[in-house]
């Protein structure tokens, strides 16, 4: 059953409806679209026990102001934003009850640039090519192929079967770094790298790039030292990956994002691993970034750990979690494998940093587990 849930009072800067994306039509040139930060998107739906593909609002920079037309349940994830219901600040990363007549509003994000607003049952809007995602350039999908505007009314679709679930929060939130720090993006290099000289590749690892303000849902442009080609920037046109780092003739890399063209004729140096695409999307313009290569196995392990975090939240929400889990720095540890194990925050190990060691005793089913967590400041 569909219900009216929100009316838009103020649309925000760029608010669109997105589901996980439009798959199955890239062979005829239709871009995937979908969330720029798939991690936060999936957590938002999971917190409401929604199927992962339910349509949510994606806000960029400034979120919208909405009036609730019915009682509903929402979850907001993504950027560290101040969100309010009737002028009272609400928590992100957990389910929030909204009553008919309530006004939901946002202030500009403090960290990150994109928020997701999931609603119980998902936003209901007609499917275009099997998806509810908005493709702005093509003017189709979502709300008539455009950003939301004042007066738009949103619907949700309540399926009575999945209303019972455990309301829990996702306290880890998003792993933001300080805006002044450089964000490290891990990439898988591809073979077509023989299009670039060794010096050029070395330059990519050694240099700091800045995300250009000329960035959008199609691509994030990076400003920094030119990556030179051995023999021109053109290749035979081929399919484009989400997160691919394309290097056109001018040597300035472009990371291909959610609304990327399906195919392209420029050289690519590799692809950013999926969990880091979310970080890049949230970093936004003027943020500094560094790029470092990872092996395929490393990439698959990181991806599988991220996936476990989402699945573990899903089983807690569904009340099916039978184990105690320790979640730290987006990694999910099974307590049964943790006896006397030390979790070290290796990503942030730096010289001159102070070690902050905390000891925990976790008792479960008559067993005692010793847990040391070391963090570096």
């Amino acid at each position: 059953m569909t219900h009216k849930i929100f009316e838009i009072n103020e649309p925000g800067l760029q608010t669109t409806i997105q589901d996980l994306g439009r798959y199955g039509f890239q062979n005829i040139g239709v871009p995937v679209s979908g969330p720029m930060d798939p991690f936060s998107f999936k957590i938002a739906n999971t917190l409401l026990n929604n199927p992962l593909n339910c349509a949510c609002l994606e806000t960029t920079y400034l979120g919208p102001k909405l009036t609730a037309l019915n009682d509903t349940l929402i979850a907001i994830t993504g950027a560290k934003s101040i969100a309010k219901i009737n002028d009272e600040e609400i928590k992100l990363w957990q389910p929030i009850e909204v009553a008919k007549g309530d006004v939901l509003s946002f202030e500009s994000p403090l960290q990150g640039i994109i928020n997701y607003v999931a609603v119980k049952g998902g936003i209901e809007i007609p499917l275009i090519m099997n998806s509810r995602s908005t493709y702005l350039t093509g003017s189709f999908g979502g709300q008539e192929g455009r950003v939301l505007k004042k007066g738009d009314v949103l619907f949700n679709n309540i399926n009575s079967s999945n209303n019972e679930f455990i309301k829990t929060s996702f306290p880890i939130g998003f792993d933001f770094i300080k805006p002044s720090d450089s964000l490290e993006l891990r990439i898988l290099i591809t073979n077509s790298t023989n299009k670039f000289s060794r010096e050029s590749i070395a330059l990519l690892w050694e240099s700091t790039y800045t995300i250009s303000s000329n960035s959008n849902r199609i691509g994030y442009r990076l400003n920094g030292p030119d990556i030179n080609h051995i023999d021109g920037a053109d290749i035979i046109s081929s399919g484009n990956e989400f997160g691919a780092i394309q290097v056109p003739g001018d040597g300035q890399p472009i990371v291909l994002m959610a609304d990327r063209g399906t195919t392209g004729g420029y050289t690519k140096i590799g692809s950013i691993i999926t969990p880091d695409i979310s970080k890049l999307a949230q970093a936004g313009p003027n943020h500094k970034i560094n790029i470092r290569p990872v092996s395929f196995n490393e990439a698959q392990e990181i991806l599988s750990n991220t996936d476990k975090v989402i699945k573990s939240l899903a089983s807690r929400v569904a009340g099916q979690d039978t184990k105690i889990r320790v979640i730290y720095q987006n990694e999910d540890y099974d307590i049964n494998d943790l006896s006397d194990k030390k979790i070290t925050d290796s990503n942030k190990t730096k010289e001159n940093s102070e070690v902050n060691s905390q000891k925990y005793k976790v008792q479960y089913n008559g067993e005692t587990y010793n847990l040391d967590i070391e963090t570096y400041t």
Partner: protein, 245 residues
């Protein structure tokens, strides 16, 4: 060994590319489309999407449902089945009104190649063009097979708006704009057909691997009649199946 093996490569944590010999030709492209058909089988759980192009196919998959080892095994099995796959191609007729305001650059293309405009039309209408791939914008066909005697360089300053259905030439290529967009191609004509409509199923009239043939429309009246039929969904383009067993 005469036939070299295609390169199977992970190009991302959720992407694998299968690349045949690094050139643009119809035989290689045919392998891409046949492999696409085999891999699009619905029983291949874990494959999210497939992007066929000139000489390669990009596979997006979900590694939690389909391991890289199993995906590579699946690709290799299908590659060995390629040789016995029957190729069926659809030939689609695209009616085009050439010249005047429908193709403002027809005279320029003729002059540039020392031809009369009617000769450009004849040459443009004679081959069957292979749709190597769709990309750039939804439904945009990359066509091969244009006679080089009508090749013409692009405009130095692209037009800011080209109407949907425009047929143009850029160097040795010809193409059709499926939707309104800016562009630098020399426009020689316009088709009343809708190439891409997101509300239709299938949304694209032309599919990768199809053949297309341009058929000249004789008068503005005929163009308008066709356009009305298209708009009221009463027009079915001529499609013939060609077997290249």
């Amino acid at each position: 060994m005469n036939e070299e093996q295609p390169i199977i490569e992970s190009t991302g944590d959720c992407f694998v590319s299968v690349r045949f010999r690094n050139e643009i030709n119809a035989q290689i492209n045919n392998k891409v489309h046949n492999l696409f058909k085999l891999l699009s089988d619905n029983s291949n759980i874990g494959i999210l999407d497939l992007i066929p192009s000139y000489n390669s196919i990009l596979i997006q998959y979900n590694p939690t449902e389909l391991s890289i080892e199993n995906l590579i095994r699946l690709i290799e099995q299908n590659l060995s089945a390629l040789e016995t796959t029957e190729t069926k191609q659809t030939v689609i007729e695209i009616p085009v009104l050439y010249g005047d305001k429908y193709g403002e650059d027809l005279d320029f293309v003729a002059e540039h190649n020392n031809l009369k405009p009617h000769q450009v039309i004849e040459i443009h209408c004679s081959p069957e063009y292979l749709v190597y791939m769709l990309g750039f914008t939804p439904g945009f066909p990359y066509l091969g097979g244009m006679d080089e005697s009508i090749s013409t360089p692009r405009l130095t300053t692209p037009r800011t708006l080209i109407p949907a259905g425009s047929v143009g030439i850029a160097d040795k290529q010809t193409g059709i704009y499926p939707s309104e967009s800016p562009g630098g191609w020399r426009l020689i004509g316009k088709t009343p057909l809708t190439l891409f409509n997101h509300e239709q199923n299938p949304p694209s009239l032309i599919m990768p691997g199809d053949l297309i043939r341009f058929v000249p429309i004789k008068s503005i009246n005929e163009y308008e009649t066709l356009l009305n039929l298209v708009k009221t969904n009463k027009f079915t383009p001529n499609k013939n199946i060609k077997n290249d067993a």
